[in-house]
Amino acid sequence: VKENSSRRGQNNYKRVLIDFKMSKRGQVAIFVIVALVIVGVLVVVFGFSDSEGDLFQGDEANPEGFLKSCLEPELKKNSQTLALQGGYRNPEGFIIDNGDKIKYLCYTSEYYETCVVQQPLLKEHFEKELSAMIDAKADSCLKTLETEYEKRGYEITIGEGDSEVKTSQGKISVILDSPVTVEKESVQEFDTFEVGVESNMYELLLVSSSMIELEAVYGDAETSLYMRYYPDLNMEKTKLSDGTTIYKIENVITGEEFRFASRSLAWPAGFE
């Protein structure tokens, strides 16, 4: 009985081993399949899918939605790049802080003097710079729009036009001033497209302008008062040894930040 049982035991052991090997192989196979499926999904989502969104949802065309998803990432990225450099793509007259070029929006090279405003109409300048940065992308989005319509058998004509960026309370808008005519069974005409992205950059720009004014008049801007008036803003002020002050203004809700430098009413060490 013992022999039998031990043989049976051996057989059982082998079976278990085989089962184990099989189940292990099976598991590996399942893992491989799951991995392939995940990779496939990722490829479809990030590779082949139209990252600029679908132009057609059902039979209805949504060109504005399409342009929004096409432009939004570029708009956000460039807006943040500009904001971290004092509103300039390629700043001249800047200070380097942790590897970032920060534009002097108010500056004096002298000691004991208040600064000279270097950039009035900051909001308008920011809009111009951002507009120049996304101009190429706006053209490419319109081209893609054209292709997407044509794929569906539409006849489309896109007229010459400009793109313009506008910042306003709570948003940044791109106005694509290109007349578009779409024709299939009926004719649709669009004079302009307005693509709006949620942003508090307008508020950051106006607060910065106000701080530049204080720098120009008094040689300093007191951040505590601003933070009390604007509960959503955090402000950091760093004074460097050469008399430069770097301001970082952050909207704590959206995480958007605007930075600029100023050198005003600087004192030397000792009397000089």
């Binding site: 009035p120 909001k123 308008e124 004074k239």
Partner: protein, 499 residues
């Protein structure tokens, strides 16, 4: 009779009264010499031309001619006296904002309107924007009103921001019932807005959900933050803000009928931060409404315990590296201001070389609560040692100094300025040298040869020596002092006895 002399040499000198004048005069001569020297030998480094644009891309700077950008206009005078860099006011014709100290060409190149004198378009007034007000220019008021879809309501006769805010604070608010298509609907607004803009029927202090109005607005469980208000409010189906969120009142008809004040709402004396039941946030106590998707909550803005003290939102306080005040400062140290804002502690550095000092004032709110406010302000130490009277010395409107009276009279900086002492330059030496002193002690020998001190005996005491040390280190990074990492410095202070 025998005289003994104790001389203290730092790298400079305030001394006994007689000597003080001589040394000060000497320093003046020395400083005058430096000035003459500077103008002569450093001529190439001092600003010499007004440059329209520098090589580094900055506008209207007084810099050496070599730093002027190629082709930029320049004049061998200060920018103030040139026409091309004349500064004035630059107004934004679109937004209505204004900036001063702006060179004409910089303003005009950016699309602004420049004027030498303060222009009328930069005059501030009160702009009423529905239930809120802003103290802005008329152009800005138009821009703001347009962006909010309101008609412009600008009052130039109101000349202060406080007056402006108060002018809208007392506005009556209530339900404005009007017809929209075949339905009776409602908007919670001011009486003026209801009469002039919506042209509806106004019910003071009544909510749009009040049954007696018969409007199509009904209560919901949704909450929202209202612009210009701190609290979390219920929202009705028409999107109107209702009373302050109170979980116990969700289905209370009375609570959805009449407008209640903050004091009549739940837990009015608390901050209600992170409360799930009460939305009566209080900004002054450190909580405010913040929206997260479709729900709003009172978020905590306070910072909790920081450096041993509870810190609330908006509070700021000074931080020093080592001892500070009454002539004490560690060598190489600077002052800092910390601020608690939105639950974060932000650090602001006061100017290097202690050219700014941090000042703090504490307000007692209750027996247990103090609210601190700090600021980095200019350290006006420069003329302390020239003051000869206690009153002049301690004139806080003019300078930041303290007075030492008694056997030695001296006026010294409260916060000693930082010096580039490692440069071993003449200026550091001249500032520190103001602490040099000589005290002549007179002894008399008796017939047995014993010496008896007759004059200036105090100069032999440890107190006098300590006072001289204090004077020395009060002048700047001079004499015996610890540095900002608390290491004791060596040298810079000698006591020489002779005779």
């Amino acid at each position: 009779m025998k005289t003994g002399s104790f001389q203290i040499l730092t790298i400079g000198g305030i001394v006994s009264d007689k000597m003080k004048g001589k040394i000060f005069f000497g320093i003046l001569i020395l400083l005058s010499f430096i000035v003459v020297f500077s103008n002569g030998s450093l001529g190439q480094e001092t600003p010499s031309v007004c440059c329209e644009k520098t090589t580094s891309g900055l506008f209207c700077q007084n810099v050496p001619a070599s730093e002027c950008a190629a082709g930029a206009t320049q004049a061998a005078s200060s920018c103030e006296s040139t026409s091309f860099c004349q500064q004035g006011y630059c107004s934004n014709p679109f937004e209505g904002t204004c900036s001063s100290s702006t060179p004409r060409f910089v303003c005009e190149n950016n699309g602004g309107v420049w004027s030498e004198e303060f222009p009328p378009q930069c005059q501030l007034g009160c702009c009423v924007l529905g239930e809120q007000a802003a103290f802005v220019t008329q152009t800005r008021c138009k821009a703001l009103s347009a962006s909010l879809g309101l008609s412009t309501n600008f009052n130039s006769k109101i000349t202060s921001e406080v007056q402006c805010i108060l002018s809208v604070a007392g506005q009556e608010k209530g339900a404005c019932v009007y017809d929209e298509g075949f339905e009776k609907t409602c908007k919670f607004t001011t009486r003026a807005n209801c009469a002039n803009v919506i042209t509806g029927e106004f019910f003071k202090d009544t909510l749009c959900t009040a049954e007696e109005l018969g409007a199509n607005c009904a209560p919901t469980t949704k909450t929202a933050c209202v612009p210009g208000r701190d609290e979390v409010h219920f929202v009705d189906t028409c999107g109107n803000p209702a009373n302050i969120y109170d979980s116990s009142k969700t289905n209370n008809n009375a609570y959805w009928s009449e407008k209640l004040s903050k004091a009549e709402s739940c837990n009015p004396d608390g901050a209600n931060a992170d409360s799930r039941t009460c939305g009566n946030c209080n900004y002054l106590l450190g909580s405010i409404c913040r929206q997260d998707g479709t729900t709003a909550t009172c978020v905590d803005l306070n910072c909790g315990k920081v450096d041993g003290d509870e810190r609330t939102h908006g509070e700021s306080w000074c931080v020093y590296e080592g001892e500070s005040g009454n002539g004490k400062s560690s060598a190489g140290s600077r002052h800092y201001k910390k601020t608690c804002s939105n639950g974060e502690v932000l650090i602001e550095t006061c100017a290097e070389f202690r050219q700014e000092s941090c000042v703090q004032s504490d307000t007692k709110l209750s027996d247990t609560q103090i609210f601190s406010e700090a600021s980095c302000k200019a350290n006006r130490w420069q003329d302390c040692t020239s003051q000869r009277s206690k009153d002049d010395c301690e004139n806080g409107a003019r300078r930041d100094c303290y007075w030492i009276g008694g056997t030695t009279n001296a006026c010294l900086p409260k916060t000693p300025p930082g010096l580039e002492f490692w440069q071993k330059d003449q200026e550091t030496n001249s500032i520190c040298a103001q602490a040099n002193t000589r005290c002549t002690v007179v002894y008399e020998k008796d017939i047995f040869g014993d010496e008896d001190c007759k004059e200036n005996c105090h100069c032999r005491t440890a107190d006098w020596l300590n006072l001289q040390k204090q004077i020395c280190s009060s002048l700047g990074d001079c004499g015996p002092n610890v540095n900002w990492i608390k290491e004791q410095g060596a040298g810079g202070f000698k006591v020489i006895g002779s005779g």
